[in-house]
């Protein structure tokens, strides 16, 4: 965002207007069906963004929010609630929003591994799948409460991820990436040939039940208003997402985040200052897979159905491309990138078929012209706003 003009901080009311405009824009984009309107909105949005960047408004607002993080957090949550509230009875749109949020959750985990510790993981969708299948099996055959199942989904992903620890620790860079690619391919084949897990047809996932309340029922508010059943799922996902976001933020703003950065940037130098490379790589890898697994378990419950075709190598690539697009290591960038990657092809029917081609092209353009991503990560601040300086 720091282009020619060095943007100065803008007053908070401008940020507020920006947030309202963004929310309205997103509602419009999610609402319109006509392809020409979608294209018009996307083009208009891009031009407006470009203009605001050139005039320094966007950078200025960014600076303001950078220094007032509480305001930013609140605005994003309120904006999300406003959008979800607007589409309260629209199943399709709410499912789309839930998918964006689950992608953000999964990429938060991937970001711990790849963005912080530099451990490439091209099997993100596999760990996502482990969480989803865990939800399917436990939900169908045991009486484990739904909220616990979500946690177990994360734990299973982390545990099965241990299979990869040895090769990931013993190889570096591209070689480690190849190992995870092999895992992703093996995982999908394993699911397809495994009859207990439903084979290629997959499994039904029982709905979420909390304190006897079945999430697959619509919620009636009074006589006239009926909330989509996805509405309740989204509230749970939002809470989990906020918790994960806080967790990843705290990792970043602690000595652990520093350790992960140090080992990513220079393993030899880090070793010479006592850093236990294995310990921190393992921590990042397990914690990351845990978050991806949780996202997967929620995904299974929301969709009600899991099949091997949802957890392919291509899906793993989408997760990685969200990180590259958003800005490696920046947690806010993930939200923007996940929204683009999930919503645009869904709304723009014409590019559905070509979305992998387009993502590939987009990632290559990013790496060529803006390798730090849409929202580059800034220097670590341990206690933004309040730290003595």
């Amino acid at each position: 965002m720091q282009d020619e003009l060095k943007p100065t901080g803008k007053p908070l009311w401008q940020a507020l207007i920006g947030a309202v405009l963004t929310t309205v824009y997103l509602i419009l984009l999610l609402k319109v069906e006509e392809q020409s309107e979608v294209i018009g909105l996307l083009a208009g949005g891009a031009v407006l963004l470009l203009l605001l960047t050139k005039t320094g408004h966007l950078g200025g607002i960014g600076n303001t929010l950078h220094s007032r993080e509480g305001a930013l957090n609140l605005l994003v949550i309120l904006g999300t609630l406003a959008i979800v509230g607007f589409f309260y009875e629209d199943h399709f749109t709410l499912l789309l929003i839930a998918t964006v949020m689950l992608y953000v959750l999964a990429t938060l985990g991937l970001n711990l591994q790849f963005g912080f510790a530099g451990v490439l993981n091209f099997a993100g969708a596999s760990f996502f799948g482990i969480g989803a299948y865990t939800a399917a099996v436990l939900g169908a055959h045991t009486a484990v409460p739904s909220l616990l199942i979500i946690l177990v989904g994360g734990v299973m992903a982390a545990l099965i991820g241990c299979v990869l620890l040895l090769p990931v620790l013993r190889t570096r860079g591209h070689y480690a990436a190849v190992v995870t690619i092999a895992f992703a391919l093996l995982f999908k084949t394993f699911l397809e040939v495994n009859d207990i897990l439903g084979g290629p047809q997959g499994l039904q996932v029982p709905s979420m039940k909390v304190f006897g309340w079945d999430f697959n029922n619509n919620v009636a508010l009074g006589d006239s208003v009926e909330l989509s059943f996805y509405f309740s799922y989204i509230i749970v996902i939002l809470l989990v997402l906020i918790a994960a976001f806080v967790l990843v933020r705290r990792v970043e703003r602690s000595w652990i985040g520093l350790n992960l950065d140090a080992l990513r940037l220079d393993e030899t130098a880090a070793s010479c200052f006592g850093l236990n490379i294995v310990r921190w790589k393992v921590t990042a890898f397990l914690l990351g897979n845990f978050l991806i697994g949780i996202a997967g378990a929620l995904y299974g419950m929301v969709g009600g159905f899991v099949a091997p075709t949802s957890f392919t190598f291509a899906d793993s690539l989408i997760l990685v491309s969200i990180i590259l697009l958003g800005g490696i290591g920046n947690v806010w960038g993930l939200i923007v990138a996940a929204a683009i990657v999930v919503i645009v092809p869904e709304k723009l029917q014409a590019i559905q078929e070509y979305r992998f081609l387009l993502f590939g092209g987009l990632v290559m353009m990013m790496l060529l012209f803006r390798p730090e991503g849409l929202l580059p990560r800034s220097v670590r601040r341990y206690f933004p706003g309040g730290a003595e300086r």
């Binding site: 967790l247 705290r250 990792v251 602690s254 000595w255 652990i256 520093l258 350790n259 950065d261 140090a262 940037l265 220079d266 030899t268 130098a269 880090a270 070793s271 010479c272 200052f273 006592g274 850093l275 236990n276 921590t283 990560r377 220097v379 670590r380 601040r381 341990y382 206690f383 730290a387 003595e388 300086r389």
Partner: protein, 272 residues
């Protein structure tokens, strides 16, 4: 992690025993003998210059001492303990810190972050402490921030107010200073400096050497080994020099002694 108290003057110092003793240290890379049966003693509180032509084994000696390479033969004793075959992590905890020939700072990270990488052994590393006990973490952070600021201030007072800036924007001399701060923050007993003047102008080098001598005054006689090609630097700051050629020690003594040594002249000038 162990929280060892700083110990600059050890019990061994009083007995006049060397701080570091290398005996028959050998390192081979394939057919190349980088260190050949090297014996080297380092006295407590001295600044030892390690010199020799390119490829004579100076940096290899550092890399073997700090555990980056395991030696093929010989032993290293440091502060009364056998360090041979220690990992870099163990060497660091034993009290040896180093800088690198080509500056190895983490460029996207802030000055503070880079210095804190060197402070690893004094920072609480538990998951619970870091993620859940934010109040205690904040106290440790603030204390560390003051320590880092005080250390940088010794080198360059204005720089001490810019600890949150990324290292990438700093000139070479400041990067070297930060690298030395990163090595010093853990209060090591021995500091290994690998060509601190590389990539700097003559004036900058002189300035950095002032800084090093100044810091040494403040740190109660820290022991230093310095690898350097600038003979002016060596002459100015070392108490004693060891000259290497093809991995072996060919001379030892004060700078004026070794600069008169015929074998040293041959090694550098190639006179038959």
């Amino acid at each position: 992690m162990t929280n060892q108290p700083p110990a600059n003057t050890t019990a061994d110092a009083a007995k006049g025993k060397p701080l570091l003793m290398a005996r028959g240290l050998t390192k081979r890379f394939g057919g190349v003998v980088a260190l050949n049966e090297l014996d080297l003693d380092l006295n407590v509180g001295e600044i030892l210059g390690l010199i020799g032509p390119n490829g004579s084994g100076k940096t290899t000696f550092f890399n073997v001492t700090t555990g980056i390479y395991a030696p093929n033969g010989g032993t290293i004793e440091f502060d009364g303990r056998d360090l041979t075959g220690f990992s870099p992590q163990q060497v660091y905890h034993a009290g040896i810190a180093r800088t690198f020939q080509r500056s190895r700072l983490s460029l996207p990270l802030s000055i503070f972050d880079n210095i804190m990488i060197g402070n690893h052994m004094r920072l609480t590393q538990g998951l619970w402490f870091n993620l859940m006990n934010r109040r205690a973490f904040r106290q440790e952070y603030e204390k560390s921030f003051e320590t880092a600021r005080a250390l940088v201030k010794i080198f360059d007072p204005p720089l001490a107010d810019r600890l949150d800036e990324p290292v990438a924007g700093l000139p070479m001399i400041d990067r070297r200073r930060i690298e030395i701060c990163r090595a010093l923050i853990s209060q090591p007993k021995l500091l290994l400096l690998d060509e601190p003047s590389a990539g700097m102008t003559h004036d900058e080098t002189a300035q950095l050497m002032d800084d090093i001598l100044h810091v040494r005054g403040e740190t109660d006689g820290l022991t230093i080994v310095i690898v350097e090609h600038e003979m002016g630097v060596i002459e100015r700051i070392t108490n004693r020099c060891v000259v290497l050629n093809f991995g072996s020690k060919i001379a030892e003594g004060t700078f004026s002694e070794i600069s008169e040594d015929t074998e040293v002249k041959q090694a550098y000038l190639g006179i038959e």
